[in-house]
């Protein structure tokens, strides 16, 4: 613990990935502000009717409608500034404070995901998230930046899982699967409408299955809060967490919570830019397609993507991946490597890694 707090003073790293997280958080703040505007239009101004402030000091002190509309416009503007990277850090800080003020005004509008987003916007404002993907970024190589606020955000992710999993563990109805079972009964149709096979939903609704799922959900949250920190378990934890959140997204309505947590997973990615290489055969359609796909979707800049002139060794392959340690991979192993590092393909990493684990084929064992 002392070591952790000690490292907060000195630890630095490449801030590239923080730019991505900033763009996502800005987009979520924008979405929330637009939703609030839609709500204002549909339901009217909350201050004109019954509302419940969190603090007695705010009781009866809702701003005038015009002021609230101005606040809303400000939230939209700040969110747009965050996305493009214009004074992004002050905009994040201001967004968090203004958002928290609105949340404290009326607890009827409180949602866990809204509060979670504001907490992370606040913490992100203390990082150098404006050094990449930003109109204000200074040209030239990025400078190493302090990581203390990133570490704090990672702890906050763990706290979210610990609080959520811990409260479920302490609740008998949750442990026995009654809560999850009832939710699956109520929202089963929604899952079917979103493409989950009806037979599978009915299977999940079986009491014994939902009881098992409840225990799995609790274990998952408690596992994630620890495993994300351990080097050996991190990739699996990230993959398992992605599956967990996508399942929640399919079966529940959680506003932007799924996408927020997935965006925050980027904070656990090892910050190494272009540490791997991907060579593709420009004479093969598959090679070109894979090369360009990775170029387009490699949002963490993990690969240095290049075409090669086919020779005797490489001529038989569409792509060859050179891993961080210099070893080579082709075939399913190369695909697993791409899935492991390219965010949109990451859900495929689990099955691909499993298939790859049954074969040595594709592992060239040749140092680059």
């Amino acid at each position: 613990m002392r070591d952790f707090f000690g490292r907060l003073r000195t630890e630095t790293g490449d801030p590239y990935v923080l730019g991505l997280v900033r763009v996502c958080v800005g987009a979520f703040l924008f979405w929330h502000a637009l939703s609030a505007a839609r709500e204002l239009s549909a339901l009217g101004y909350f201050g004109d009717g019954f509302y419940v402030p969190f603090l007695d000091a705010l009781s009866g002190r809702a701003p005038a409608r015009g002021v609230f509309v101005t606040i809303l416009a400000l939230r939209i503007l700040l969110a747009a500034m965050i996305v493009v990277g214009l004074a992004a850090r002050p905009a994040l800080f201001a967004s968090a404070l203004v958002g928290l003020y609105v949340l404290l005004l009326d607890r009827l509008q409180f949602h866990h995901n809204r509060y979670t987003l504001l907490v992370f916007a606040f913490l992100l404002s203390f990082t150098r998230c404006d050094q990449s993907l930003s109109v204000a970024a200074t040209p030239g190589p990025r400078l190493e930046s302090p990581l203390w606020a990133v570490r704090l955000m990672q702890v906050q992710v763990s706290l979210v899982y610990l609080a959520s999993g811990g409260s479920k563990l302490l609740d008998r109805d949750w442990r026995e699967g009654l809560v999850l079972g009832d939710r699956l009964m109520r929202f089963g149709e929604q899952a079917v409408a979103r493409g989950v096979p009806a037979g599978f939903v009915h299977f999940l609704q079986e009491p014994q299955v939902s009881s098992g799922l409840a225990k799995l959900a609790i274990s998952t949250e408690l596992f994630l809060c620890v495993a994300l920190w351990l080097r050996k378990s991190r990739v699996f934890a990230l993959w398992w967490g992605v599956m967990f959140h996508l399942t929640i997204e399919l079966t529940s309505s959680v506003e932007i919570f799924t996408w927020l947590m997935l965006a925050l997973y980027a904070l656990f990615v090892t910050h190494d830019v272009r540490a791997r290489k991907l060579f593709y055969n420009p004479r093969r359609m598959k090679g070109v397609a894979l090369g360009w796909t990775v170029r387009l979707l490699d949002w963490f800049l993990r690969f240095d993507v290049r075409a090669w002139t086919p020779d005797e060794v490489q001529g038989g392959h569409s792509i060859v991946v050179v891993r961080r340690d210099g070893s080579l991979a082709t075939g399913v192993r190369a695909l697993a490597m791409i899935a492991r590092t390219v965010p949109l393909f990451f859900p495929l990493w689990g099955p691909l890694a499993l298939v790859a684990s049954f074969t040595r084929k594709g592992d060239l064992h040749t140092a680059a």
């Binding site: 003073r9 409260s167 809560v179 009832d182």
Partner: protein, 168 residues
């Protein structure tokens, strides 16, 4: 944006995490478990049935309010006055009557909010000399269990004084 000096960072982190821990530990004391990250804490549905308690020539009795949330009452001169629950209560989850609806943040949160809505509505019935108080009967089904009924009552707007039997 100014970066925190290195020596301040651990203190800031400790303060921040301390506040978060305190909010999480105390979340159970709040009916909606706000700031505690307790997602999907319950699976509860409720059905709200609204009533007015009136005291007239027929005595003290409960008069059901139309599921649309509107009713007609009268003032001291006997003039008819229209009221609508929706005039004050905007949130859909607090103004859908006679239908089972999902209580997203659990029974305690929903009942607490309904209690507040009831008091707020009762205190905004200007001119209504008919309605003594408002009452909600709430059917609650928690985590797939057997339903039970919770009765919520607003504070009295007026009560007939027993000594003089006077009007409101």
């Amino acid at each position: 944006m100014v970066d925190l000096p290195p020596r301040v960072r651990p203190w800031f982190a400790a303060l921040f995490l301390g506040v978060q821990a305190a909010l999480i530990v105390t979340a159970a004391r709040r009916p909606d478990h706000a700031f505690g990250f307790q997602m999907f804490s319950e699976s509860t549905v409720i059905r709200i049935r609204p009533f007015r308690e009136v005291d007239d020539a027929f005595g003290i009795r409960l008069v059901p309010i139309d599921p649309s949330g509107t009713w007609v009452s009268k003032d001291a001169q006997g003039t008819a006055l229209s009221f609508a629950w929706n005039d004050r209560i905007k949130r859909p989850e607090l103004r859908i009557f006679d239908q089972w609806i999902f209580a997203g943040y659990g029974a305690d949160a929903q009942l607490d909010r309904l209690r507040g809505a009831l008091s707020d509505m009762a205190s905004h019935l200007e001119g209504d000399t008919d309605t003594r108080r408002l009452v909600l009967e709430v059917d609650v089904k928690k985590n797939g269990g057997e339903p039970f009924v919770v009765r919520l009552e607003s504070p009295y707007r007026w009560r007939r004084a027993v000594a003089n039997g006077g009007a409101p």
